[in-house]
């Protein structure tokens, strides 16, 4: 432990206090059984056995993973297109658009979800638009309180997490490199395919990772716009803590979610750090 500056020790202490200790405590909870609504301090693997044997937990888990995957793929395409559009604007415009995109990140998450509820509801913006363009004869109620509503809401709310890393990656491509490609005879499509896309892909992978991790653990959006159909793993965890008062089972479910998140992060880390970047 020689050579550690006092500042580094303070930082480690803060990390331990606010991140490592809470994580360790809920990890510890996941090994405790509950008898007659009371936690018994005798470690067991019952919670994990329960987790893996219960088929409804399993389907909820798989449904949630699929949901997070769908949102990630959809946002990958939408986010890349948005970032590319922003990047192609003149610099002054670019900054305005990036700021406009980042502003929602400063807003309360619940307010954003309620806003989406307003957009998707029977009297909402989306229905008004459908009616105005003659795409529907009467308001569509199927836009809210189902899994699709969760998909749309999560896509919209998580879009900045996809767009911003791609913007950063695109911003790092120097104009000279693009000029070099044109100078060597590349068409715009060839330049995109062989230069722009590979250089910005690491950013897109980071964005997809953010989206997947955030979507897979979310419980507020499914709770508020998902209805019965939109029951996700996050809501399951929430119900164990908030409704069933079975903290140890909730902790065990969270551990599974944490493992998935760590796996996704490590894969994304590998993919987004290609050999040429070192």
């Amino acid at each position: 432990m020689t050579g550690y500056a006092p500042g580094a020790i303070v930082l480690w202490a803060i990390c331990a206090l606010f991140i490592l200790i809470p994580l360790a405590s809920f990890l510890a909870y996941s090994f405790l059984p509950v008898v007659d609504n009371a936690i018994v301090y005798e470690p067991t693997l019952d919670n994990f056995a329960n987790l893996f044997s219960n088929s409804s937990y399993r389907t909820t888990f798989l449904r949630t993973m699929l949901l997070a995957f769908e949102v990630s793929v959809f946002n990958f395409v939408l986010g890349y297109a948005t970032a590319y559009f922003i990047w192609r604007r003149p610099p002054a415009w670019r900054n305005v658009l990036v700021i406009a995109l980042a502003i929602p990140l400063l807003m309360s998450y619940i307010i954003k979800i309620y806003a989406m509820r307003g957009v998707l509801g029977t009297n909402g913006l989306l229905n008004s638009a459908l009616l105005a363009f003659g795409l529907a004869d009467e308001p569509v109620s199927a836009l809210l309180f189902n899994l699709t509503a969760v998909r749309i809401t999560l896509s919209v709310v998580l879009l900045p997490f996809m767009v911003l890393p791609i913007c950063v990656a695109l911003e790092r491509i120097t104009p000279q490199v693009l000029q070099a490609a044109a100078d060597l005879g590349a068409s715009e499509i060839q330049t995109f395919r062989w230069v722009i896309l590979p250089l910005s892909l690491p950013g897109a992978i980071v964005g997809a990772m953010f989206t997947f991790v955030l979507a897979s653990g979310d419980f507020l959006a499914p709770e508020l716009v998902g209805g019965i159909e939109g029951f996700t793993f996050g809501r399951l965890v929430f119900s164990q803590f908030g409704l069933a008062f079975n903290w140890p089972l909730g902790a065990a479910l969270s551990v599974l979610l944490l493992v998935v998140a760590l796996a996704v992060i490590s894969v994304a880390r590998r993919l987004s750090n290609p050999r040429w970047q070192t």
């Binding site: 000279q176 000029q179 070099a180 044109a182 060597l184 250089l199 040429w276 070192t278």
Partner: protein, 374 residues
């Protein structure tokens, strides 16, 4: 030409037809004229350097030829064909960029292959040509490295190979050596010259370094404030500058002024200076106002019997600085100080300070210059 052996090094290789003809080319940014309408011919197979201080328009000129900058006036013809409206990717020549602009996600081999890949050249042909190009720039062993794993000189050579791979007849080089240290720079200058000579590709090279320009070029085009100040061989520009600016850009000169033309003969012009009447070879400047006679310090020698231009001086100081000896001389009538630079000689006796010394220079080793220095 000054010397009888005419310095064959600076003779233009290849034929003398212009590969690139620039006529009335101008570039204007709002109310700033980066390039005032100018004409320039780049000859087939030559190494032409565009030299100038920063802000002289040299890089803008190169970028306009490459197609990165739209001209506001004039035409650019390549091989007899107007290319002003041709998009960058259809122009039949390639560029080496100042910061190399290598593709960071591609290996050296992939970078070099890029031009062939976009043209859909078959893999086998492509690989063979890439190996050839890597051989020319001596990077065979580093083909699988990424640009971040290369030194500056290696990146430079990768950029050169990448620009050469499609066998263009013209390569534009935008201050390609600016980022290299002095030793490497000198190596690369020699290397560029050799590659240019052997490949026969016409090079248009931009730099602000006059010694670099003299080392590598067949011809130098000196630019200043968006205009071409003078074009010529390095020897021409050095010994026969047409303006005080060009004279000063290539190093120190003795400026004999004011000058007045007395008579013009077939080859020799007689001019009167405060130091006496001197004879000058070569063309007369169009402007006759503010004339001066510029003589390089090393063109000044202790006068022998047949020197046509002679000045009697008093020795002020003699400094031995290694390979050269610098003598300062005062002209007794005008109190003007001249500098003479001679090759040091271990057995030579220096003239004593205060003694009288007759110095002279050749009619071909001086030039009439005009204009302001800065």
């Amino acid at each position: 030409m000054a010397a009888p052996d005419a310095d064959s090094r600076h003779e233009v290789a290849g034929d003398r037809t212009p590969l690139l003809r620039i006529r009335g080319l101008g570039v204007r940014f709002q109310d700033f004229e980066a390039i005032r309408p100018l004409d320039l011919d780049v000859l087939n197979g030559e190494f032409l350097t565009v030299l100038g201080p920063s802000g002289s328009g040299k890089t803008t000129l190169l970028r306009t030829i490459a197609g990165f900058q739209q001209p506001t006036a004039g035409r650019i013809e390549f091989d007899g064909r107007d290319i002003a409206d041709l998009p960058i990717n259809r122009r039949p020549f390639n560029t080496v960029f100042q910061d190399y602009a290598l593709f960071p996600h591609m290996t050296v081999r992939e970078n070099v292959a890029f031009g062939l890949r976009v043209r859909g050249i078959a893999r086998a042909t492509r690989d063979a040509r890439v190996e050839d190009a890597l051989g020319i720039v001596e990077l065979e062993d580093l083909g699988n490295r990424y640009p971040t794993q290369l030194s500056g000189g290696q990146q430079q050579r990768t950029a050169l190979a990448r620009a050469m791979i499609c066998e263009p007849r013209l390569i534009l080089l935008d201050e390609p050596l600016a980022a290299l240290d002095a030793t490497l720079r000198r190596q690369m200058q020699k290397f560029l010259k050799v590659v240019q000579r052997q490949s026969g590709i016409t090079f248009v090279f931009v730099t602000h370094d006059q010694s670099e320009a003299i080392t590598v070029s067949d011809r130098i085009c000196v630019m200043r404030s968006g205009r071409i100040e003078q074009i010529g061989t390095p020897r021409d520009l050095y010994y026969r500058p047409r303006s005080r600016f060009v004279a000063a850009f290539f190093g120190a000169s003795n400026i004999l002024e004011p000058c007045r033309i007395e008579s013009t003969g077939e080859a020799v012009t007689m001019v009167s200076t405060p130091f006496g009447t001197m004879s000058v070879d070569g063309p007369l400047p169009q402007v006759r106002e503010g004339l001066a006679l510029a003589v390089r310090p090393e063109a000044l020698v202790p006068a022998s019997g047949d020197a046509c231009n002679r000045i009697g001086c008093e020795v002020v100081s003699v400094s031995f600085v290694g390979s050269e000896t610098i003598t300062e001389l005062r002209h007794p009538q005008t109190r003007h100080v001249l500098t003479m630079k001679t090759r040091s000689n271990p057995s030579a006796r220096h003239p004593a300070v205060g003694s009288h010394l007759e110095v002279g220079f050749d009619a071909a080793a001086c030039a009439l210059v005009t204009g302001a220095q800065e």
